[in-house]
């Protein structure tokens, strides 16, 4: 059973989530990959309000004529690990990507009451159908790597790391590993 969540994500909503929960996100998400993180870190004022915001690690395909956006699935989150504790300290509440995070990211999620979700890697076509509006917010010269503001409706994600130390990658693998 999916849990419907509205963005920006409240602290209360983040605290209620547990690793393994399936969620549907509705509201605004901001995209940022490696280079956008590098640039955001150098800015005093971000192009969006970080408090309670959701950041999606993705670099979409160009939108064909008539479409809102091209395929828009997650990229490997670990590449953003070096920046993430500072991002969470700014108040960002929700991170969306794929793949395992570092111990320092997991500790920062607990400290700041934030969550890390996985969108389905390689399902970019399907995920693009859940994006209702898209515009470039910052660093347009980066193309696919620019910061986009996306209005999503029922974007399906899975909670990987909750704010209580839960980790679906570890728990799931333990459950199904055969000796």
């Amino acid at each position: 059973m999916e849990i419907r969540l509205t963005l920006p994500l409240s602290e209360e909503a983040a605290l209620s989530l547990r690793s393994g929960d399936r969620v549907l996100l509705t509201g605004i998400v901001y995209t940022a990959r490696d280079e956008a993180h590098e640039r955001l870190m150098k800015l005093e004022d971000w192009p969006f309000e970080p408090q309670d915001a959701a950041i999606y690690y993705t670099g979409p395909c160009p939108a064909p004529p008539g479409a809102v956006i091209g395929p828009v699935g997650p990229t490997t989150s670990a590449r953003m690990d070096a920046y993430t504790p500072a991002v969470l300290a700014k108040g960002v509440r929700c991170l969306i990507g794929k793949g395992q995070r570092s111990d320092s990211v997991k500790a920062a999620l607990i400290e700041h009451h934030a969550v890390y979700l996985a969108a389905t890697g390689g399902a970019g076509a399907l995920l693009s159908k859940r994006v209702k509006a898209a515009r470039v917010l910052a660093f347009p010269e980066l193309g696919a790597e620019a910061v986009y503001e996306l209005l999503v409706e029922d974007l399906p994600c899975t909670v990987i790391n909750d704010c209580h130390g839960g980790d679906l990658y570890q728990e799931g693998q333990r459950e199904y590993a055969k000796p």
Binding site: G70, A125, Q173, A177
Partner: protein, 283 residues
């Protein structure tokens, strides 16, 4: 025997079309492997995600959009018949131009950067093409494209083992590479691997192994037995679809072997995400 003329224009157009098709249409063998994994998977969550992946492939094919936003660097395996004469331009350039055309006209993402660390500026056309050409008998030109995403490619591994480490050492190396990769290469994966050859040859063979139809065994029974053992051990890791925990981590293990130096036991791993895209054309 007279030479057959083939123009660079023909090659360029074929390359452009291949790039677009490959990114939109999941090959039938991969699609069937996803359906099989869904029917065999123990985890309800993984079954649900596998259903999403099948739906994703359906949407991409139906609407003519890419399966995944990472439309990759364009890697080509080419067999050039020795009785073909390439006319009207530069063979290598025809591939670069075909890639630029295909990635632009097909609204595919351009992921190729100018230089690896000093100026990481997007080249804007996904060139250069990565082309491996074998000269073969005949008068045909066979081109296979396999767009390769960064997430799975980043999990590649090369090991120059000692011969004493033997078959068990090879197995350990491959299983460890998959374990270490975890959720990153977008499982369920296809495990391309190679044993033997020089270092660079071994890596290339591991990628070439991915061209085989999913789950089709190596014709050599000894190698096929190793593939089966590896598949079982990899699925026993419990990584599952997307790393969420499940019984189907790999759709197949494809191994190629090659004669090797008496001092060496080279082993290479090239992981392929479930969006295992490839298309072939024969001109």
């Amino acid at each position: 025997m007279p030479l057959r003329e083939l123009s660079c224009d023909t090659i360029r157009a074929a390359v452009a079309q291949l790039c677009i098709e490959a990114n939109r249409k999941l090959p039938p063998d991969v699609y069937a492997a996803l359906e099989k994994a869904k029917s065999e998977e123990d985890s309800a969550l993984c079954r649900e995600i596998l259903g999403d992946l099948i739906e994703n492939a359906d949407i991409a094919r139906r609407e003519g959009i890419p399966i995944c936003q990472d439309t990759g660097l364009a890697v080509f395996f080419v067999e050039l018949g020795q009785d073909v004469h390439i006319s009207g331009g530069d063979f290598r350039k025809a591939f670069d131009e075909g890639v630029a055309q295909g990635y632009t006209e097909g609204y595919l993402r351009k992921s190729s950067l100018d230089s690896p660390f000093l100026r990481r500026v997007n080249r804007g056309d996904n060139s250069p093409a990565i082309v491996y050409t074998d000269i073969v008998p005949g008068d045909a030109l066979k081109i296979t494209v396999c767009p390769k995403g960064g997430g799975s490619e980043n999990m590649s591994a090369l090991g120059m083992l000692t011969p004493a480490q033997g078959r068990e050492g090879v197995k350990r190396f491959i299983v460890d590479a998959v374990k270490k990769a975890g959720a990153n290469p977008c499982p369920p994966i296809i495990v391309g691997c190679a044993v033997g050859g020089t270092a660079e040859q071994c890596m290339l063979l591991a990628k070439k192994a991915l061209l085989r139809s999913v789950g089709e065994p190596n014709p050599d029974e000894e190698v096929a037995a190793l593939e089966r053992e590896l598949l079982e051990e990899i699925n026993a890791l419990g990584i599952g679809t997307q790393g969420f925990g499940g019984s189907r981590t790999a759709l197949g293990v494809h191994m190629l072997t090659h004669p090797v130096h008496l001092a060496s036991l080279s082993v290479a791993v090239n992981l392929q995400c479930h969006a295992a895209r490839h298309q072939t054309v024969i001109l």
